[in-house]
């Protein structure tokens, strides 16, 4: 069942590849159970998220030509395991946004201008370095359990021009209002696709923490993971809200061959992100909570290769203010152990 453990872990991590900021997901795809020996691992993971649903205070908006965003994040993840219990990975994200947004641009000298963008953004995102320590492991022929702890840092390597522009618009809007007028720091925006949604990087050093649990009994398995992203102040004083992700679910090996395995897993996910802070104030047009369900397929071939693919369908989303939220998420990853 050693190969089974490999599939279990890869499949479990793949379930989280849909999250936009899920650095740990890509890392764990690389960190498969079979490779808990010293050596190199290479992973390529892809997640695609469609943001075509527009919510305004939790009510879905309808209309023609609404703003949208399609986001693709490709993670290149080289990794190295020093020992079976200790490893490190570097996550290099390539971010691509295809979007349409219509928003106002305020000025201190002229009336606001309505500007529509139908464009793309592509570039390097924020690189993360994450370590893994397997704190507990029991493995047998019929059952196995492993618990790992993760910790790392996300570095401000991605471009932050869009955040700087958004904060500048906030400052202009603030200046136009009488002093002391209560208003949201993103009150200038009439789009559900904000500049901070399109940025490639945050400009901040963020902490990444996680705990993972893998368990298997015969052909069946159950995995769970907890991730927490501690955000710090970034570009122009913009601070993203901290984020908690919990995911997991049961699965089963449908096929177990001599040189391959094939499994199916049912995943449930919970993501919640606190409100962002800019210009020294929390924005009530940021922050959201989402629940997902979706299937995931996994395949291993030989001793070196594995792949997973899955879909996450949101079953319930709440979002503050005006925001575009996911319609669905598709994720896949390829892992090669040297």
């Amino acid at each position: 069942m050693r190969r089974g453990s490999l599939f279990l872990l890869v499949g479990w991590m793949g379930s989280r590849l849909g999250a936009a900021g899920c650095e740990l997901c890509a890392i764990y795809s690389a960190d498969n159970a079979q490779a808990r020996n010293a050596g190199w691992i290479a992973t390529v993971s892809e997640s695609f998220i469609s943001y075509h649903t527009v919510l305004f205070n939790d009510h879905e908006l309808s209309g023609h030509d609404l703003d949208f965003r399609d986001t693709s994040i490709t993670h290149l993840v080289p990794g190295y395991n020093f020992t079976p219990e200790l490893g490190v990975n570097l996550s290099i994200p390539l971010v691509y946004h295809h979007f349409q947004r219509t928003d106002l641009r305020y000025s201190l000298t002229d009336p606001p201008v309505l500007r529509s963008e139908h464009s793309t953004e592509f570039g390097l995102g924020d690189v993360s370095l994450i370590g893994r320590w397997t704190a507990f492991r029991r493995a047998g022929m019929e059952t196995s359990v492993a618990v790992s702890v993760l910790g790392g840092v996300k570095f401000p390597t991605g471009d932050t021009d869009r955040i700087a522009d958004e904060v500048q618009q906030t400052q202009i809007y603030d200046a136009l209002l009488p002093p002391g007028t209560p208003h949201d720091p993103l009150g200038h925006s009439i789009s559900g696709v904000h500049q901070h949604d399109l940025t490639l990087g945050s400009g901040s050093f963020d902490g990444i923490f996680g705990v993972t649990m893998l368990s298997r009994w015969d052909r069946y398995f159950f995995n769970a993971q907890f991730q927490y992203y501690l955000r710090t102040e970034g570009e122009s004083g913009y601070t993203y809200g901290n984020e908690l992700m919990v995911a997991g679910g049961p699965g089963a090996y449908l096929l177990l061959g001599k040189s391959y395995t094939f499994n199916l897993q049912a995943n449930a996910g919970y993501d919640t992100m606190a409100r962002d802070e800019l210009a020294g104030r929390l924005s009530n047009r940021t922050g959201w909570t989402a629940w997902y369900l979706g299937p995931q397929l996994g395949l291993t071939v030989g001793n070196h290769f594995s792949t997973v693919a899955g879909v996450d369908i949101p079953v319930h989303i709440t979002a503050n203010g005006l925001q575009n939220v996911p319609d669905y998420r598709v994720h896949a990853s390829l892992v090669w152990r040297f």
């Binding site: 527009v54 305004f56 908006l61 309808s62 209309g63 219509t102 106002l104 305020y106 000025s107 201190l108 000298t109 002229d110 009336p111 606001p112 309505l114 809007y173 136009l176 209002l177 009488p178 208003h183 009150g187 009439i190 005006l322």
Partner: protein, 139 residues
């Protein structure tokens, strides 16, 4: 300070901009009241007035939610003013000013039709002359 009311469908009011003066715009719904004191003696007239007042209040509430209104005009920096107004969902608003030499209304800013209410602030340059603003809404 005078407010000019223009009884044209789609226009709420016209507000003259005055140099160095804040212009808080009050609700026009107050002009609906106080019409029936001369008819107080006849009960049926009183009843009619009561019905009329109820209707006016109801109409006023409805209009308050749908008619455009410039909420505030105030000086900004050295030679500008800011004009504030709120918008309802799914309606297009045109903030217009009167071009005095020609007598034509021109758009200063058009707030697009969006599916949620919003607050707008429009910057305009001050001159040494009065300027009239009005807010037009469609549909």
């Amino acid at each position: 300070m005078r407010l000019y009311w223009q009884p044209v469908v789609g226009y709420r009011q016209c507000v003259p901009m005055s140099h160095n003066r804040v212009v808080p715009v009050s609700s026009p719904l107050r002009i609906q009241t106080g019409a029936g004191r001369a008819f107080r003696r006849a009960w049926f007239i009183q009843a009619a007035i009561l019905v009329g007042l109820i209707g006016s209040v109801a109409t006023g509430l409805r209009l308050q939610a749908t008619e455009p209104q410039i909420s505030r005009i105030e000086p900004f920096l050295t030679d500008q003013v800011t004009i504030h107004f709120d918008t309802d969902a799914n309606r297009t608003y045109q903030l217009q000013f009167l071009h005095l030499p020609t007598g034509n209304w021109s758009n200063l800013f058009v707030a697009p039709k969006i599916p949620f209410p919003n607050h707008y602030i429009v910057v305009d340059y001050r001159t040494n002359q009065s300027r009239l603003y009005r807010l037009r809404v469609t549909p």
